[in-house]
Amino acid sequence: MSALILAMVVLLAVVLIGAALVAIKGKSLPIAILSAGLVSLIASVLFLVLAAPDVAMTEAAIGSGLTTFLFFFVLSRVRGGEND
């Protein structure tokens, strides 16, 4: 089954890099934030595949969930500065 795990890691790595590039280069700020959240979510699947379920749960709940919402709260408060 090791080959399957290796394939999963490769696939998730591709998705991670793609999402990270969108997060850095994306035109609109909400999508950049959402992509950062996606990087965290996919990373948490990768943590699970790397046999670290505790870290996976923390990353999903805190790194992806709450941090993304904090970003959106601040972004909605500073709507004018979005495009600077």
Binding site: P53, D54, A56, M57, T58, A61, I62, G65, L66, F69, L70, F73, V74, S76, R77, V78, R79, G80
Partner: protein, 232 residues
């Protein structure tokens, strides 16, 4: 332009360091000494099935106390920085109304999400998860409340009461460990019990539940402070 070149140069240097690290890395075949100690002794000394939990709550419990303190300070500073910016409500722009579907759905999901959060921190010693994750899920439930009802304000007093109560009890349990068992935050003030049961691993479920409540209250306070800031 020169800035971009400097950035690229810096990144090349860092990338080179990373590359040497990566090519020089070879995975261990066996656990190192520390990890081996934890793997051998956790089950019979601590009684927790989840070794990561055992490390966080007992072996390195003092660090966790520090971590919770850092989090408390972060929440307090966010509150302090934004204290002057709390909106009066009059100047707010008109918000889009919440659809009926979202309101009903969130009201019916809320108890279940809270239940999931409590399950995660009560079972911290048996399954993945624990106080931090459970606290985050509880805070997510509060967030759902906020999303479904944007004008609602949290009860700040209740949050701070829960926070200080659980923080105080956490320290009291730590001191009890010093008095009744081997040291600060020792979990053996309660019987270790049968391995794999819910009531086992001494005081770990209790400590992790308190951490969960405290972390949940801190996250909720950060969220509510940011969401109540005035729109600029």
């Amino acid at each position: 332009m020169i800035k971009r070149a400097a950035a690229l140069l810096l990144l090349t240097i860092i990338g080179g360091i990373f590359f040497t690290l990566l090519t020089g890395y070879s995975a261990d075949e066996n656990l190192n000494l520390t990890a081996q100690y934890y793997a051998e002794n956790t089950a019979k000394d601590i009684g927790a099935a989840n070794i990561v939990t055992a490390i966080i709550v007992t072996y390195r419990g003092l660090d966790t106390l520090g971590e919770v303190t850092v989090l408390f300070l972060a929440a307090a500073i966010v509150g302090l920085v934004l204290a002057r910016s709390r909106g009066a409500g009059a100047a707010q722009t008109v918000k889009a109304p919440v659809g009926e579907l979202l309101t009903t759905g969130s009201h019916s999901l809320l108890p279940l999400i809270l239940l999931l959060g409590i399950y995660i921190f009560v079972n911290g010693h048996l399954t993945p998860g624990g106080g931090f994750q459970g606290g985050a899920v509880v805070a997510s439930a509060m967030l759902l409340l906020l999303l479904a009802n944007p004008v609602k304000r949290f009860n700040h007093r209740l949050i701070s009461i829960i926070e200080s109560f659980s923080g105080f009890s956490y320290v009291v349990i730590g001191v009890l460990g010093l008095l009744l068992a081997g040291g600060f935050l020792d979990n053996r003030i309660l019987p270790i019990g049968e391995f794999g049961q819910l009531f086992s691993a001494g005081a770990i479920p209790l400590i992790y539940s308190l951490i969960g409540l405290k972390v949940g209250a801190e996250f909720s306070s950060i969220l509510s402070n940011l969401s109540e800031a005035e729109e600029l």
